[in-house]
Symmetry: C2
Subunit: 156 residues, 2 copies
Amino acid sequence: MHTFFEYNWQVRDEWFTWCNQLTTEELLKYRIGGVGGILYTLFHVIDVEHSWLRAIVGKDDLVVPFAEYDTLEGIRFLSDTYRKEIKEFLPKILAESTNQLVTVAWDEKNYRKNDILHHVIAHEIHHIGQLSVWAREVELKPISADFLGREFTSMK
Amino acid sequence: MHTFFEYNWQVRDEWFTWCNQLTTEELLKYRIGGVGGILYTLFHVIDVEHSWLRAIVGKDDLVVPFAEYDTLEGIRFLSDTYRKEIKEFLPKILAESTNQLVTVAWDEKNYRKNDILHHVIAHEIHHIGQLSVWAREVELKPISADFLGREFTSMK
């Protein structure tokens, strides 16, 4: 499971670099599908990952307004900050029981920890697929989504 | 790992049902991004999954021309046929060593079985993200990519 997180983080970082080719206006421009834009997609996957993983370890939900981070530098800072925090507790999450029930701040249900991990992983890959279409729309080559051919460093 | 396969198959089947809303012409129409069209995307994820998984169990690569299956019924038939075959050997793949080295017909490299499984899973989720953008372009609601909230039956 941890390899999927490493994959998502590596692909996300490559998209950050890719974003340097576009102006902030292009990054913020409304686009059809998904959550409606390149930078907001990156914000959304970062926020969703952070919220769900914090819920697993019993931390409260931090609601962060997009408007405070709506530049490439801002989103990258948010991603780096959250990732540093996540790296501290993810090994523990992955090592312990997969069936733990998790309560969250944003609805009344209980979720199985293992389902949350699957959800967070699939969520980011899905949204990155949307970025790849928008990349072609602005006539740029998207970042490869291939899992094979990547080298992963241990997250520890 | 098997839950990601069940997830992909369930989402894929929901996209097949979704496709009934479109004409064959719309399904075959060239679209920007990915492999360039809705039906061809579904063909591509089916073909890639089947080829890599067959390689793991030492079966030869079956090269199937898209032109032979280029209707919704044709693609669905291909998906059902391949899935039936995959379901026979996937439990064995998932139960055995993850570090097995696999050779494939389409290049000279060796691949780690576990990497192939990650690759195949991420590959489909990524391409399905592209379908979701094209769905909005034709003003239809895409299939939900949410992992949470789904019920999975055992693949056995």
